[in-house]
Symmetry: C2
Subunit: 263 residues, 2 copies
């Protein structure tokens, strides 16, 4: 008789990667998630090192089912952020993911985890989830935060229609063209547009947004969500321009989410 | 000397509204959220009755700062789901929200809560958040799940580019036109499209998706997320069509999220 099949558990991570003022893990993740994470022996991760750091925080609340050393952590190939890979689900047909899912067919649950937030949302995990669906492995998303959804809630912009557009082009002329097209789309569809940037480029993206977007466009910035130092602010572009500096990047740079709605 | 100003706390709700198999609240919400919710004396809510039910679940874990009877709950005006209100932030300039935020200026935190998931995401809360930003009231999104983000993670579809389009038209001809336009947009932008429906219309929407979308389009359904009976499945439309029935709506009807990616 074979054991019941295991599931692919989508384990939310905290949003405080690298922050000096990271909250206690029980402030931001449900106890049920910590308990399930502590029981897992097989992991597929965006980054093995941050996964071990996560499991150490879990361990302080719920003892792990086995030592960290005995826990298997397979690391996903790095996507090219802002490059071609950011616009599609690169590696969707990656054959090794099928091998990595083999423990589930043998009755063991597998955890999938990102560096921050939900696996598969603005990160490389989606290809593993797609492989699980192809193989008939049950996919179980556990309760947790996405920084994009929290930033949208915090913005007060239209939450009935919104689009996440990932990273904008780094070339100035291309970025301007893209921003103008997205602003027009936002106006026509009354759709909030959401973008992210690598933290050390946040100030440059903010400058580009203020230069390019129309004065009456509503612009929201959410920075360091879930941190005591975190904040989110929404203003018309014209109003942001009157503030100097309009955006003080925290040190060390925190992940930020940028949202706008053309009116 | 005046008290420090209070904040508008965006309090996540569970995703199990009306479900017979609702999990324990500590399975799905962080202790930190329960502790902060228990301390609040002023609430703005999508629905007062479900907010009291939420506070009773909180109370089983953390004692409330005052009795439920003494807790002030103001109820948001109902939006027209699927109607004009669903495509914009209706009531954005509603003057009463400014009055409702007055306790924050007096030093009291205010909680904003939806019937399920995050306030302001696919619900009427955004107008209150916008009013808070206008008045300079600090907005603090607390860690919690959005069913849209969990469904996207669970889909394995493109999480680097996605759009939530809300409710589709109920008129069959209009819905077909809208679906074909969204499928074309999804193909061109490689953008996952996300829609919701009122639970009793889920089976009808599924039938329309299977009839209208191209056979090779990837279609994902997430139903009853966070419930023991919950599931999510992703298949090509052609494959869904080979299953009969393709979609068995649970009883009572659970909220479902529909996602597709044109290829």
């Amino acid at each position: 008789m074979s054991a019941p099949a295991g599931s692919l558990l989508l384990v939310p991570n905290t949003l405080d990667l690298g922050a000096a003022d990271a909250p206690d893990i029980t402030e931001v993740l449900p106890f049920g998630v910590l308990r399930r994470a502590a029981a897992l022996k097989h992991w597929i991760a965006e980054d093995a090192k941050t996964t071990r750091a996560f499991l150490k925080r879990v361990q302080a609340v719920v003892p792990l089912a086995q030592s960290l050393q005995a826990t298997e952590i397979r690391e996903l190939p790095q996507p090219q952020k802002g490059g071609a890979g950011a616009h599609g689900a690169a590696g969707r047909n990656e054959p090794r993911f099928d091998d990595w899912l083999a423990p589930a067919l043998g009755g063991h649950d597998i955890g999938l985890i990102s560096e921050a937030g939900l696996p598969g949302v603005a990160d490389p995990g989606a290809a593993v989830v797609a492989a699980a669906h192809r193989r008939g492995v049950r996919v179980l998303p556990l309760a947790g935060s996405s920084s994009l959804a929290l930033a949208l809630a915090g913005s007060g912009l239209n939450g009935q229609s919104f689009a996440f557009v990932g990273y904008l082009p780094t070339d100035a002329a291309e970025r301007t063209d893209r921003l103008l097209a997205l602003q027009q789309h936002s106006r026509r569809e009354r759709q909030t547009q959401i973008a992210i940037e690598t933290p050390y480029r946040n100030a440059a993206l903010m400058a580009a947004l203020l230069k390019t977007l129309a004065p009456q466009t509503q612009l929201s910035v959410a920075c360091g969500l879930s941190l005591p130092s975190g904040w989110c602010t929404t203003r018309a572009v014209a109003e942001w321009r009157r503030h100097a500096p309009p955006f003080e990047p925290p040190q060390p740079p925190s992940p930020a989410v940028f949202l706008w709605l053309g009116t």
